[in-house]
């Protein structure tokens, strides 16, 4: 395996770099899209259930089907990485819109009420109070979305774009175990590192959560 890495380091690094891009760009895009959608599900309570249902349906579409179907809708080439980015962004939105809505709904009404009584207007209250208090729930969802994206990228290899997944397809085609092992180990490592980074960010931006639990 070491030999394989030494002889193919360029190819492996390129695959890894592509994997990171394909997995994380959708996380960022999906998060930015999910924030307003999740908020709407809280602002207008009648929207919450349709939102949860649509998100559930979207998330249940098999990824391979989406990868193949998207070029038809978007008019992109079947081999375009854009298909993967759009598909994974859809999954991320499906996952995070609900998480954002649930996070905001979990904020104790006493807290929002006292913010209103202090003289917060709606938007500033959302930014200064509700989102920060909902952050632990939202970041937990972000961890799930990130790890799920990193594993889903590999499926893209079946249609020719897929970061580390390409190592699997190559291994299968050549009846050669090394690239498969390298691909598996690297994508598990990548998922672990990405998860750890989010946990570290979470600790840094929500120091107050460490004291919760003793008292409600």
């Amino acid at each position: 395996m070491i030999n394989y890495l030494q002889n193919n380091s360029d190819a492996v690094l390129t695959a890894l770099r592509q994997h990171i891009w394909l997995a994380l760009l959708p996380v960022v895009l999906g998060f930015l899209i999910a924030l307003p959608i999740g908020y709407l599900g809280v602002r207008f309570p009648w929207l919450y259930h349709p939102l949860v249902n649509v998100a559930g349906v979207l998330y249940s579409i098999p990824s391979l089907a989406l990868f193949v179907f998207l070029p038809v809708v978007l008019g992109t080439k079947i081999l375009s990485p854009l298909n993967i980015v759009v598909a994974l962004t859809i999954y991320t939105v499906a996952l995070l819109a609900r998480t954002v809505a649930d996070g905001l709904r979990s904020v104790d009404h006493l807290i929002t009420e006292s913010a209103t009584a202090m003289g917060y207007r709606r938007f500033r209250r959302l930014i200064d109070v509700e989102l920060p208090v909902a952050l632990p729930v939202i970041l937990a969802g972000l961890r799930v979305a990130t790890v799920s994206n990193i594993s889903l990228v590999s499926v893209g290899a079946l249609i020719g774009v897929g970061g580390l997944g390409q190592l699997f397809t190559r291994g299968f085609q050549l009846f050669y175990l090394e690239p498969i092992l390298v691909g598996v180990i690297l994508s598990v490592l990548l998922a672990g590192v990405a998860d750890l980074i989010i946990v570290i960010i979470q600790r840094a931006v929500t120091p107050w959560t460490r004291f919760q639990g003793g008292r409600a």
Partner: protein
């Protein structure tokens, strides 16, 4: 002054929460709204800062209808203390207190400096400043809640069951501090409680609501105890209102008799107990000073093994006694 002018609140789908209430809450005084649950006291309080809008009628602060004012700006000028404090869990104690000054455009640095002083004022040591609400006890959180409401020095404060979530010992302590603080600050305070004892203790004016959002009686605590308007108020202020009304006067003018030989004293002249037999000395059960309330004197006379309350001076030396029948005579004479 806060004025309720024929205020009605009807909720859609029926139910009158507040029914033609007209009130005046005097400037610089504490007015307490009290009543059973569902009597409209909290709804009334929340109409002052427009958290709830009246169906008809007006609420005015110093003659200005609150309905015509920008909601957020109005609220920044009114302190608000909520049950369980409602602190922001993601902000330190200091930043919680600095909330309204920052909303009003102060820099964070200025607001924090002022907040630190306020913490001391409500009896919290500076080391609490950097803690998060989850690290505080209920009583400490409530103090932070009061500091936060005071931070922008608003002339008006609204307090919604501010002391109901803490245990009786802490509540007693918070009551004392509230009274001391209000004596210094003289805010116009509207407070809601379901606890008549709290209302009587803290209120300059008490407004008793009954079911259906009707005001049953408005008056000073003394007036309510001495002269309840009807059966409901009498019931609500409680059967022991005679005893409780003694809380408003001190024992300063209560006559005492000289200390008799039966009262056993230690070398410093402090009372030890009553001699009720050759070898039998029973504890006095407590003592009072002339600054204590008549209620305490009555309590001591009842508890005493011989029916006599013992007065002590500032050093704890016995300087007089009051038998219960003397107390009864004094109270009868006082009533005229």
């Amino acid at each position: 002054m806060i004025t309720f002018d024929d205020v009605v609140k009807v909720y859609p789908g029926g139910g009158t929460a507040v029914d033609h209430v007209s009130l005046e809450l005097p400037t610089g005084k504490t007015t307490v709204f009290v009543g059973p649950s569902g009597c409209g006291k909290t709804t009334s309080l929340r109409m002052i800062n427009r958290m709830i809008s009246p169906t008809s009628g007006r609420v005015l602060i110093d003659g200005q209808d609150v309905a015509g004012q920008d909601e957020a700006l109005l609220r920044r000028g009114i302190g608000y203390v909520i049950q369980h404090a409602g602190l922001f869990p993601h902000r330190t104690v200091l930043d919680n207190v600095a909330t309204v000054p920052v909303l009003l455009g102060k820099t964070r640095r200025e607001a924090r400096a002022a907040a630190l002083e306020l913490l001391e004022r409500v009896g919290l040591a500076p080391e609490f400043a950097k803690r998060y609400p989850a690290q505080l006890s209920g009583g400490q959180q409530q103090r932070v809640g009061v500091a936060r409401a005071l931070a922008a020095d608003p002339p008006v404060m609204l307090m919604d069951e501010p002391f109901s979530a803490v245990d009786p010992v802490v509540r007693e302590q918070l009551h004392r501090e509230f009274l001391r603080l209000q004596q210094d600050l003289g805010k116009t305070i509207a407070m809601v409680t379901h606890d008549i004892d709290e209302a009587i203790k803290l209120g300059d004016v008490v407004v008793i609501f009954r079911q259906g959002g009707v005001v049953a009686q408005v008056g000073t605590p003394q007036e309510l105890l001495a002269d309840p308007a009807d059966e409901f108020v009498a019931e609500f202020v409680g059967r022991d209102r005679g005893l409780r009304s003694l809380s408003f006067d001190t024992a300063a003018e209560l006559p005492v008799l000289p200390v008799p030989a039966e009262l056993v004293l230690d070398e410093a002249g402090r009372p030890v107990g009553w001699r009720t037999g050759a070898d039998d000395v029973r504890p006095t059960g407590g003592t009072f000073t002339s600054a204590d309330t008549l209620r305490l004197v009555a309590d001591l006379a009842i508890l005493s093994p011989v029916g006599i309350a013992v007065r002590v001076d500032g050093d704890g030396k016995a300087d007089g006694i009051t038998p219960h029948h003397d107390l009864a005579d004094y109270l009868a004479a006082r009533r005229g």
